[in-house]
């Protein structure tokens, strides 16, 4: 049975004794982990924004977000602290990190003595903030090239073709379809960094979630909690939320504005009606609101929702303020604005149109008749260019043009139009002029990057073949022989005057160029009209540098008078005005503190 070969063959093992052993020669010096080893975490805390996505994806709940820095816009100040009593080194946190700040080193050795130490606190550290030996380790796991858990590119928004747009004032952005909206909403990681940046602190993650889950009515309700003009904001919001979106660090931000727009667009009349169904207990208090712009409308909505009797006094023939008279229809169709206004009116808000305080009515009268007055008259007084010849009749303001178009007043701009300014009003004016068939050139004092207008607006204006001249300082407007205007401007250079400040445009000595125009549109900003401050009641209000002084709740020196909107806040955009209105509404409620049941 036993073959001799089988007996002798095992002695083959002895061959091994004369070969090199398998053992690692030196035990005291451990081998470094491989270059892509998943070891202990590293975090670039300056790059990290504390969005908490790592904590969200960690299935072990091993990541806690702890405060390390001061919170600021786009940075929660929190940083991940990792509990190595939980971590399983799966590196999903590294893979999903939206900023790419979280990585892993190839260090793997961490031993602790356990007897005389409470283990509760060991094996917990905040990478980047608590120094560790492997902080500067260059090797270790990084998210591999071409492997991505997040969708960094946004779903493109369908637009009208530039050629098509120029023919009419039809809204140029088509809006997301259901599929596209869900796809875009799916990109959201629900970190909520944006909420703090939004002036109205809208609950952005929540309504994006509602879109993803196709719960339109619920989403609409979330919108109305903080913003009574969602249809408007879904179109023209300056969307500072998107600037701080966690995804914008390595890719493109979520199209929060378009998603909001999708939500209001596809909400049915029933959904809107459903919002009104909650019962409002009327209160015996009356509030007057001056100006039916976003600030006034917002305050009216929330005050009416609390049960106050609200009356709005508006100098124009329709509500909306700057939304209606300062924004062309191709960006914000009036029907949409009307819908939002109608929703507010449905709460029982009374609108008094063509009622200009200081002209048609006196402020004292309002002050005495109402329990509180909320003033948000906006900024409707355009600034002049301030150069010789700017009083020419063919030099009009951008606002003038836009409100004329809104009101259906026929305008004749001629063939060549020069727009001065780089803000959104300038862009709107330029593109409106373009739609009226003009050749448009925009002059701006600084560089393109300094333009306050939205990047998209500038790009779209370009698509619509608006010409741009940058670093151009207006010098003089002259009337040419043929009745057209001759506009002199000089080239500027950007000079850094003080370190840390943005560079100022300084005219290059002797530079003078000329451009011919039929109409010059000045769109270099607006100021507040103080017509309403006529009577005795407003005497208590303090003015400083032509601005009404109030605290962040809009409370002026007179306890009954509240202000908000463009005339008050420095950013002067719709969403801030809405936020002001909401805040002031709560402040008014707190001030009046009416008796409520239960």
């Amino acid at each position: 049975m036993m073959r001799l070969q089988d007996i002798l063959s095992p002695f083959y093992v002895w061959k091994r004794a004369f070969e090199k052993p398998f053992s690692i020669a030196v035990l005291s010096a451990p081998r470094p982990g491989s270059p892509t080893y998943r070891g202990f975490h590293q975090n670039d805390i300056d790059k990290c924004i504390g969005c908490g996505t790592c904590a969200e994806i960690c299935q072990n709940v091993s990541i806690d977000m702890v405060p390390v820095k001061e919170a600021q816009d786009g940075d929660s100040g929190l940083r991940p602290r990792i509990d190595y009593g939980r971590c399983c080194w799966c590196a999903l946190c590294v893979d999903i990190c939206p900023t790419g700040s979280l990585t892993m080193s190839n260090a793997y050795t961490w031993v602790e003595e356990g007897l005389d130490r409470d283990v509760r606190e060991t094996y917990c550290y905040t990478p980047g903030a608590d120094p560790q030996p492997w902080d500067d380790e260059a090797l270790g796991y990084r998210k591999p090239e071409g492997y991505e858990l997040l969708h960094l590119e946004r779903v493109p928004m369908p637009h009208l073709a530039p050629g098509e747009r120029l023919n009419s004032f039809v809204e140029m952005v088509k809006g997301y379809s259901h599929e596209l909206a869900v796809q875009e909403a799916d990109r959201c990681i629900q970190c909520g960094i944006c909420t703090a940046t939004c002036p109205a602190h809208m609950n952005i993650p929540a309504y994006i979630k509602a879109i993803r889950e196709d719960k339109i009515a619920e989403g609409l309700k979330i919108l109305y909690e903080t913003n009574p003009l969602p249809g408007v904001c879904g179109r023209i919001c300056t969307r500072r939320c998107e600037d701080v979106c966690a995804l914008s660090h390595r890719g493109e931000a979520i199209s929060i504005r378009w998603l909001k727009r999708y939500l209001t667009d596809c909400a049915s009349a029933e959904d809107y009606k459903a919002l009104l169904e909650s019962e409002i207990k009327p209160l015996d208090r009356k509030i007057a609101i001056i100006g039916a712009g976003p600030g006034g409308l917002s305050a009216a909505y929330y005050l009416a929702g609390m049960g106050y009797a609200v009356e709005i006094f508006e100098q124009n023939a329709a509500a909306g303020g700057m939304l209606r008279y300062g924004i062309p229809e191709y960006r914000l169709p009036y029907t949409k604005l009307d819908q939002d206004v109608a929703q507010i009116a449905a709460l029982g808000v009374k609108f008094n149109y063509n009622a200009c305080i200081g002209r048609d009515l006196s402020f004292d009268d309002l002050y005495n008749r109402f329990d509180a007055v909320f003033v948000s008259v906006g900024m409707f007084e355009p600034y002049r260019i301030g150069i010789p010849g700017d009083d020419n009749a063919k030099v009009i303001s951008g606002l003038q043009l836009l409100s004329d178009v809104t009101n259906g007043v026929p305008v004749d701009l001629g063939r060549r139009v020069v727009v001065v300014g780089g803000g959104n009003v300038a862009m709107d004016a330029a593109r409106t002029a373009k739609r009226l068939g003009c050749e448009v050139t925009v002059l701006y004092r600084r560089r393109e990057v300094d333009m306050p207008a939205d990047v998209e607006e500038i790009e779209e204006a370009r698509e619509e073949s608006v010409n741009f001249i940058f670093q151009a300082i207006p010098l003089e407007i002259k009337t040419a022989d043929d009745g057209s205007l001759s506009f002199d401007w000089g080239k500027a250079e950007m000079v850094q005057q003080k370190p840390g400040e943005r560079p100022q445009p300084i005219l290059i000595e002797g530079s003078r160029e000329n451009i011919a125009a039929d109409t010059i549109i000045a769109a270099i900003g607006q100021g507040v009209n103080y017509l309403w401050m006529d009577g005795e009641a407003s005497a208590k209000i303090e003015l400083k540098k032509f601005r009404v002084q109030a605290d962040r709740w809009g409370r002026t020196a007179d306890t009954k008078i509240f202000i908000g909107g463009d005339m008050f806040n420095p950013t002067a955009d719709a969403i801030t005005a809405i936020a002001d209105g909401h805040r002031s509404a709560r402040a008014i409620d707190k001030m009046l503190n009416p008796p409520r049941e239960n």
């Binding site: 806690d64 977000m65 702890v66 919170a71 929660s76 929190l78």
Partner: protein
């Protein structure tokens, strides 16, 4: 596969036949006809291999779905049989006589879901769990996280949600 199921459909009152792909199908059978069907499938149709036996708890519907997955080595096809049984006093016929490992599966299902298989050897003995006094743990109404947090001590967390934290820090009054 479809053909086979069509043939058996009448005899065993099969329901909910779904063909996931040409070699994998699911069908529903009543507990009474289960053993007969399994025997026929094993002996006459070549489904000789019991791949697994498991249970899905449909808490919302108030019933367990016990899945018997069979494999045919000649045609390389899988046939999964679903048997629905109520969540209380659940009882199913034992198949330990057909496949030896059926006993182990049944023992596990009994322990993890509380399904009773009359006649299956060793059913009452603890198999995986020892000194377990809670409900059968794989039932969906048993919350393992709550149990774990109540029973064992964990390190305290100090987590801040970014959104809430930013609210507290940046605009607490709003």
């Amino acid at each position: 596969m479809q053909e086979l199921l069509d043939n058996l459909k009448e005899l065993y009152a099969l329901n909910g036949i779904t063909l996931r792909n040409p070699s994998l199908a699911w069908a529903e059978v009543t507990p009474e006809r289960l053993v007969g069907l399994l025997t026929q499938l094993r002996d006459a149709h070549g489904f000789t291999h019991l791949v697994l036996m498991t249970c899905v708890d449909w808490l919302e519907d108030g019933r367990f779905q016990v899945t018997y997955l069979l494999h045919n080595y000649t045609t390389r096809q899988d046939l999964g049989l679903h048997v629905y049984v109520g969540r209380t006093a659940s009882e199913l016929p034992s198949i330990h006589t057909l496949w030896e490992q059926g006993r182990v599966y049944q023992q596990e299902l009994h322990e993890m879901f509380g399904i009773y298989f009359p006649g299956s050897p060793g059913l009452g003995e603890p198999m995986i769990l020892e000194s377990w006094d809670g409900p059968p743990p794989m039932r969906r109404d048993f919350d393992t996280r709550v149990y774990s947090e109540e029973t064992y001590s964990h390190r305290q967390r100090t987590h801040h949600e970014p959104e809430q934290h930013m609210k507290d820090r940046l605009y607490p009054e709003d």
